[in-house]
Amino acid sequence: MRSVRQRRTAVGASLLAVLALVAAGCGGSDNDSGSSKGNQDVPGADALDKATGVTKITFWHGMKGANGAAIDKLVKAFNAAHTGKIEVTAVYQGDYDETITKYKTSVQQGSTPSVVQIYDIGSRFMIDSKQTVPVQKFADKDSYSLDAIEPNIANYYSIDGALNSMPFNTSMPLLYINKEAFVKAGLDPNKPPTNLDEIMADAKKLTIKQGGKTVQYGFNAAIYGWFLEQLIAQSGTTYCDNENGRKDLASKVNFADEQGVKVATWYQQMVKQGLMPNTGKKTDDAQAVFKSGTSAMHLESTGSLKGYLDAAKGKFTVLTAPFPHLTASDSGGGPIIGGASLWIDGPGHSDAEKRASWEFVKFASSPEQQAAWHTGTGYFPINSKALDQPDDKAWVAQYPQFTTAITQLHNTKPTNASSGCILGVMPQARKASEDGIEKAVLGTDPAQAMKAAADSIKPQIDQYNKTVKK
């Protein structure tokens, strides 16, 4: 039997050991931000040439379904063209929201990917996080011309004239139409509705009820903040102040103003009158409604086009039309470019890795790859030369639906309104706006709902600006 004193010292010693361990562990966690090696500088081209063996890079993305398959094809093509030198591993991280969350986590854990696909509204955050090497720097160092990028797109992703990330999948919202449903209701599918009021009018004719149950809805759309942003842009007004966050850090959002309230009211009325089912905020659920033929009109990104064509095969014909305006009197700027861009990470990555990432990013934005991407998904090519590719031309001739978005893009005048709001907490703002619309749909007065939503995001904006201004 051990003596009590021995036991006491044993307990005491182990307590000390534990304290030491924990202190050591905790001590190191707060200071560094994963910046062990590398930074935001641009290495020269020789960094890759000098690298021995295969430079492995990771690519995080948020593309699933048909689009995920297209990514895999792209990565495969790249790896084949660079065997022995560079190897890209693509990892699906979830949707855009989850991808940026995972990315944030990776910064905290010091294990960032080499290239990451972040959605448009994450741009401000990415810049402020200081984890990436601007694409412009690479281009300048290599004297690589970025002129082939569609000006509207380059505009959106440039801040202070410099391109921070490489646009990759650019989308615009479209109005999708079930051709057979239109014909059956006596409507002309070639003359689609062009604003919210017309949609409501047409939806009334397209909703079919049988014995109290709705068999076909005239219209459906997810409660998606992106649509609200688009409609506001279409009306030529700004989503947030300070010239949509381009002149200075935005300090508040404007969606509680007249335009935002109009959108909320419209959503509310569409559901109330039974013209549209409320499937909530999940875009997948809204997509399922259209794909199953249960709704005749639908709002979604052009990036879903291929998926819809596949799903509707043999069931009905999918047509596309320009995204509606808020009111008939809107001449508006045009819809905002959506989608995502590729960011190259700096801190924590070797020079060879950064160069390899740049090679991948260049590849992904090349005419051939963008043409393949276009026809494989519906996103339109960021590289204007892609449209000249023979494959692309042939595809587009067969499926003119793929051109609607492009036409819409070319018709959009680049203004502050059509460039979208740049806000550090834009993802949260989008969610807040969705909450507002949802509240309205579920019965609250739209003006109140949107006001509450706009107010709820204000503290977060202030907090963000405070943190970043330091």
Partner: protein, 282 residues
């Protein structure tokens, strides 16, 4: 020495417990690391906001909606099974099946059933001529849908535990009751149920704790906390504040975490103080 290895981990918890408090007193930077000292600001914001009261209400409601049906349902089933009917083994296996499903798998299956566009739940309603219900999109139903899934998951465990408890009741007691003329239901009410007291108490405590900590099914069924935040429980809110949507407000989330701790403490104290006295131990 035997105890120190456990001391190590207790310190894990104690140290992090105090750190949690400390985090709740600071702001957070873009990546969640503690920033400037803000004192009780987070607590003031939280307690003053209607949203927080709503979160507490949701949490409390979910506990009631899952614990009561879960334990009572399990009890009723077990009592019915005790009536010496044929096929008892098949039925008992049937009721134990949910036990095999993890939180994620059960939630995914239910999500498919609840799907607003193509889900079977609405499909079945349609066959009976009832109009669609927004299982996960209607704030009046979302919490109920989550509760149904949670109860389904726990039925298996509850039935198994109560079955074990009944098995421990000496058969003589029931036989004696029958001889005295109090068979069937009366025997159940006056003998079996009281003697199942300890097991039911155990299940109530465990179910409450699990319900307060429920996360997986909420995240899968109603990402974003449900329509009008109707399924945003305290735990989900902690996750949401700290990790979702580009937010990284570890400070505010930690404040909520401390509140969770207090609530759990109160709940357990109440349960042990009030309910345990009513339980008959052999």
């Amino acid at each position: 020495m035997l105890v120190p290895c456990l001391v190590v981990f207790a310190l894990f918890i104690v140290w992090h417990g105090t750190r949690s408090v400390s985090l709740s007193l600071h702001g957070s930077d873009l990546f969640g690391r503690p920033d400037a000292f803000v004192g009780l600001q987070h607590y003031r914001d939280m307690l003053g906001s209607g949203e927080f009261r709503h979160i507490l209400w949701v949490t409390f409601a979910l506990v009631l909606l899952t614990v009561i049906p879960g334990v009572l349902g399990g009890l009723v089933i077990v009592l019915l099974l005790e009536q010496h009917i044929k096929g008892i083994r098949i039925l008992r296996t049937a009721f134990a099946l949910p036990f095999a499903f993890s939180v994620a798998s059960a939630s995914v299956i239910f999500a498919t059933i609840y799907n607003p566009a193509i889900g079977l739940a609405n499909g079945l309603l349609g066959r009976f001529g009832v109009d669609r219900i927004g299982w996960l999109t209607d704030p009046s139903w979302a919490l109920i849908s989550v509760a149904i899934t949670t109860v389904w998951m726990s039925i298996g465990y509850n039935v198994l535990v109560l079955s074990a408890g009944i098995g421990a009741i000496p058969a003589e007691l029931n036989e004696a009751a029958t001889l005295d003329g109090a068979g069937g239901w009366r025997a159940s009410w006056f003998i079996t149920i009281p003697l199942l007291g300890p097991q039911m108490f155990f299940l109530v405590v465990i179910s409450t704790i699990q319900s307060l900590q429920g996360f997986g099914q909420i995240k899968i069924l109603t990402p974003e906390g449900g329509p009008e935040q109707s399924t945003k429980t305290l735990v989900y809110s902690i996750y949401h504040t700290a990790f979702a949507n580009n937010a990284s407000d570890f400070g505010a989330a930690s404040a909520q975490a401390i509140v969770l701790f207090v609530i759990l403490l109160l709940c357990t104290a109440v349960q042990f103080g009030v309910l345990e006295r009513r339980v008959h131990y052999k």
